[in-house]
Symmetry: C2
Subunit: 346 residues, 2 copies
Amino acid sequence: MKKNSRITIRDVAKECGLALSTVSNALAGKQYVREPTRIKVEKAAERLGYRASALARALRMDRSFTIGVLVPDLINPAFPAYVRGVEDIAIREKCNLFLCNTDGEEAKQLWHMRGLLDRRVDGMVLIAQHVESPAVRALLAANTPFVLVQRRSSRFPDPYVGANNVDGIVAAVKHLYGLGHRRIALVKGPAESSTVAERLQAYKDYVRRLKIDGGSDLFYQGDYTVEAGYSAASHFLSLKSPPTAIIASNDVNAIGVLEAAAERGISVPAELSVVGTDDIQLASFRAFNLTTVHLQKRAMGMAAAEMLMNRIRTKRSQPAPQVIFPTHLVVRHTTAPPPANRRASR
Amino acid sequence: MKKNSRITIRDVAKECGLALSTVSNALAGKQYVREPTRIKVEKAAERLGYRASALARALRMDRSFTIGVLVPDLINPAFPAYVRGVEDIAIREKCNLFLCNTDGEEAKQLWHMRGLLDRRVDGMVLIAQHVESPAVRALLAANTPFVLVQRRSSRFPDPYVGANNVDGIVAAVKHLYGLGHRRIALVKGPAESSTVAERLQAYKDYVRRLKIDGGSDLFYQGDYTVEAGYSAASHFLSLKSPPTAIIASNDVNAIGVLEAAAERGISVPAELSVVGTDDIQLASFRAFNLTTVHLQKRAMGMAAAEMLMNRIRTKRSQPAPQVIFPTHLVVRHTTAPPPANRRASR
DNA sequence: TTGTAGGCGTTATCAT
DNA sequence: ATGATAACGCCTACAA
């Protein structure tokens, strides 16, 4: 017996005096292995502490039972829930998960995608990643299945899981309009995001329908960070005619908006209404108590992973499915009638 | 040329009319390959879009360039920062990261650890995991390097990265004591945590030194969730003689404490002071504005990963290093003198 | 400097 | 029902 080396299927075969192919079959639960034989093999494997090398198996079977998930930044509370959803399904499917943070940078995304491909992952889930650039498309065009989450391409009909952004933004605007707001600002998220584009379009359409202000001074380009929310609010609140409500790009962003408002002594919701998106756990407590558009992120992650497993099994035969999750507005305490209307309403 | 099959080093060799060992050497940047040869090889590899199989390489080299990281729950804002720290180093070392959520359940942890071992990870980082149980120890005793974070064993001198919990708790108690508090409650974290034990011990020692109340009615067993904080505060605040300050098990937990207080109309910090631990980003903004013990989580994750890489390279030769990161109290607006002392101080 | 051969640990195919 | 053997794709002696 070699000293330091790992114990392999070969050792198990030797231990119980059988051919290694028989051991393999027994352990794999193949039909035609006799019950006593199987038991003998299992006992021996157990006794020796044998564990099959997933590496060797993957190489041989051309199936690694791993999937990769790319996300901008785990530290941003907007994203972990998707990842857990993906993991929920991965575990069920006995797959392991490679995690990659890309910080929204294409270079990092490419590096990670190449790494995942080198590792022969069975598939990948791209959460809020770049999806249009030629370099990314080239990698996507390899034969590895993938599913996009929250960002899709306008030119390619990829498998996609997203949220109903139109409903979400319409619900937010309608709520604010109902409260009496007529100047409602919007913090746009990352420019490359289809979700952002959809929200912006929905906002414009709906605002036009309501015949209220929708000028470009009501938009601000930011991203999903507190800092961006802070900058956005600072900008909006120093306008000659500032908006009475701000729809942030997400909950974290909304925190920044609240911060800027507080810093200027502007009270929320009395003088300014704020709406987020995500409904992260912390948003629901009194400290924040944020009115926000609820997204079923963990469920979306799960749906994406299920879709991915399907495509792994059927090797991209079917047309790409796209599933859109409903959203709904959760009204809490950062929205109220605007100052001018305070006496009027309620 | 075979139709559907992946392109291998063999194809590259054929393409440029060299032996595959030469190609391997050229691509690996070995000394003794002539420059023109190397260039020819690189061109060919590029042209064919060749990418070495990390699987085959790992199998052959007995080094997978992957590491696993176990964490209780990514959705809890207390944990992602460690993971990113680990990833920072993993990327630098050209390793990929397997992510595992265990929800603090030993069964899930064991399942994941076995999976990682099967995948032949080069090492693993265990963040706030079970470290004492026989089953876990058995897996740890395999030949795969590991580093513990925030939870260590009292019986085994494992490689460990943690925070100076004593300093943290002492700073918190001292701060509250200085403000005039004499009944300071503590929410204990998960019972299995060494960090929790250290904090508790430090609390007891220091409170005794100050000769203030330290009775068992000032402890509450919780975990790192909002719900636990809520329960803890509900319990404390319904005592006949409630504490005037509560040290939560962490920032998320503190949210629960604040929630319970608000629900009862108890104002913070006027009637109740609250201290957290972690200093998650959201804690620093006005909505929350939590006095808390700052932990350098990303740096700790990085340190753990560096330590792990060392042990991977030197195959557990040296004695297990243990590094303790300093902590410091960040005073914000959830702490103030207790009601009785309001006029006295300041 | 380049080429040949063997093996890492599996599973799949084909005999027996 | 079981056994021998050939890949999977790579790296690394060792030979030329």
